[in-house]
């Protein structure tokens, strides 16, 4: 009886998801086994040929490494800044906390396409207000930001950090607010300094929420696409070509759909493996 009822409620969503997710994904596996090129007449079955080609595709490997660099830079900086902000708000800002949280929660809600466009405005090679501020404080560098191969990835990192640091802050702040006050009071009665309190009591209690926040962010950056499409289109050269963007070009610019499908599966496999290793490792160290 119970089983029937549960199926009755769960089934509609499951059926829709089978149709809109599982069926297309199975079809994608099928396509990835073909020499499917929309500019050529008929696709041939080539087995794992596309996957083997990917292993020797230096542009694909380079795009993966570039994406990895971006993940490490973004996650580290965003986590540390988010923690700094959350601790500052939690310990020292009482009266305006709600208002500030509301204001800082705006960036994660804005479409990344808009963020990419904002980047074009504030990092414009000629009329950048950021470069003007650098000049005002007598920093001689005049970076070309997204229009230079040296700094294009850095610019994307800055924009992503602008958008997502508040997300880290919000999660960590909610973790902080969930700590029972009695814990902290008893630590203070024992004479712990603020630093000891944070280091030995607060940070360990934030471990779970940190793991979740970092995992979510890492998985998001591994798939980053929108900002890059608008801001650099992977360039200059291939200096900001991340893996999703390379797969996009392969599939919808060069029209090598079968090869693109294989690359996208490799990305999905890498992503799942990393998430599993990370969770296993972190859960063990608890």
């Amino acid at each position: 009886m119970k089983l029937n009822e549960s199926t009755f409620f769960v089934l509609p969503a499951v059926i829709v998801l089978l149709l809109v997710v599982v069926f297309p994904l199975l079809y994608s596996v099928y396509v990835s086994l073909y020499n499917y090129d929309l500019l050529l007449p008929s696709p041939n079955f080539i087995g794992l040929g596309n996957y083997l080609e990917a292993l020797g595709d230096s542009r694909f490997i380079a795009s993966l490494i570039r994406t990895g660099e971006l993940v490490i830079m973004c996650v580290t900086v965003q986590y540390l800044l988010g923690l700094l902000l959350a601790l500052s708000l939690y310990y020292h800002v009482g009266r305006f906390r709600g208002l500030i949280v509301a204001l800082l929660s705006i960036p994660p809600m804005i479409p990344p396409v808009v963020i990419g466009y904002m980047g074009r405005l504030i990092f414009h090679p000629v009329a950048s207000p950021v470069n003007y501020l650098l000049e005002v404080v007598h920093i001689p560098a005049k970076p070309l930001w997204h229009t230079s191969a040296q700094t294009s990835l850095l610019t994307i990192f800055l924009l992503d950090t602008w958008q997502w640091t508040p997300f880290m802050m919000l999660l960590l702040l909610s973790g902080l607010m969930a700590i029972p006050q009695e814990y902290l009071e008893s630590v203070r009665i024992d004479g712990a300094s603020p630093w000891q309190e944070v280091r030995h009591v607060v940070l360990p209690l934030l471990k779970t929420v940190s793991v979740v926040a970092i995992l979510f962010r890492a998985l998001d950056i591994l798939r980053i696409f929108d900002i890059i499409y608008v801001l650099t289109y992977g360039g200059p050269g291939t200096s900001s070509e991340v893996v999703s963007f390379y797969i996009y070009l392969t599939s919808f610019n060069y029209w090598r759909i079968g090869y693109g499908a294989a690359l996208s599966w490799l990305l999905t496999i890498i992503l799942s493996l990393l998430a599993m290793i990370y969770l296993k490792y972190v859960v063990k160290s608890f």
Binding site: K2, S6, F8, F9, V10, P12, A13, V14, L17, V20, V21, P24, L25, Y27, S28, V31, L84, L85, L87, S88, Y91, H92, V93, G98, A102, L103, L104, S105, I106, M109, P111, P112, V113, V114, Y117, L121, H124, V126, A127, S128, P129, W162, T165, L171, P194, V209, V212, A213, F216, R223, D226, Y229, V230, Y248, S251, G260, A261, L267, T268, L271
Partner: protein
Amino acid sequence: MGGRTSAFKLLAYVIVALAVVITFFPIYWMLLTSLAPGKEVMVYPPKFLPTKLTLKWWEYTLSHIGASLVNSIIIAGSVSFISTTLGFIAGYGFARFRRPDDSTLFWILSIRFMPAIVAVIPYYLLFNALGLLDTYPAVIIPHLSIGIPFAVWLLRGAVTAIPKELEEAALVDGCSRLRVLIRVVFPLLLPSFLATLLFTFIWSWNEFLFALVLTDVKARPLTVAIAGMREAHGLMWGAVSAAATIAALPPLIIALFFQKYLITGLAFYRTKG
């Protein structure tokens, strides 16, 4: 000790103030670029305050991207409504009849992490074969693949928080499960239901890759229209700024006026927390 504490307090205020300024500057700059007269934007040294304001670019933009704006509203509205409705029913089922570590539930949640690029390739081929490219369903269907898992997870959590006794009383009185769901559970869940509607709406409104590949001109939402202005209107900074501001407006309004629901939505990210 007291001196050190107030030094920390000052430092904390400086850090937070800096964060607020850095958060606001790009938004202000975009708004300014959309409202300032043409001669005052994209100049060096930059003008931080305009001498006068003009609505010229807003009028131009609204007349040019009006159709995309309507498309965005239709697509995000449909995705939000369908996802939340299905998510409500399934979320209730999972909360009341299944264990928290149910494998179907885990499967649904993991879809949220699927890279869009892996799904967009088969969608393109399938919709091309079905003649569905550049129609609303071509965007709505892929968006459901993310919207439903999101809604299931949020609403399952919300149902778990409601005491079972309330439903059991109604069941004893002879109500059917479906009636209980609508008459007893739904009113109690209304805040979470609204939060889910808002979140799935914003997610769909912001989405870009699916919409880029699967639409052309007719069904194109705002995000794709803005990205397209990149080439076509390379020098019309005011127009693109106005369009980008319009696209950022609904999320902005929600962030500011629906704080309470936003916090509910965050529960999604604190599943294990």
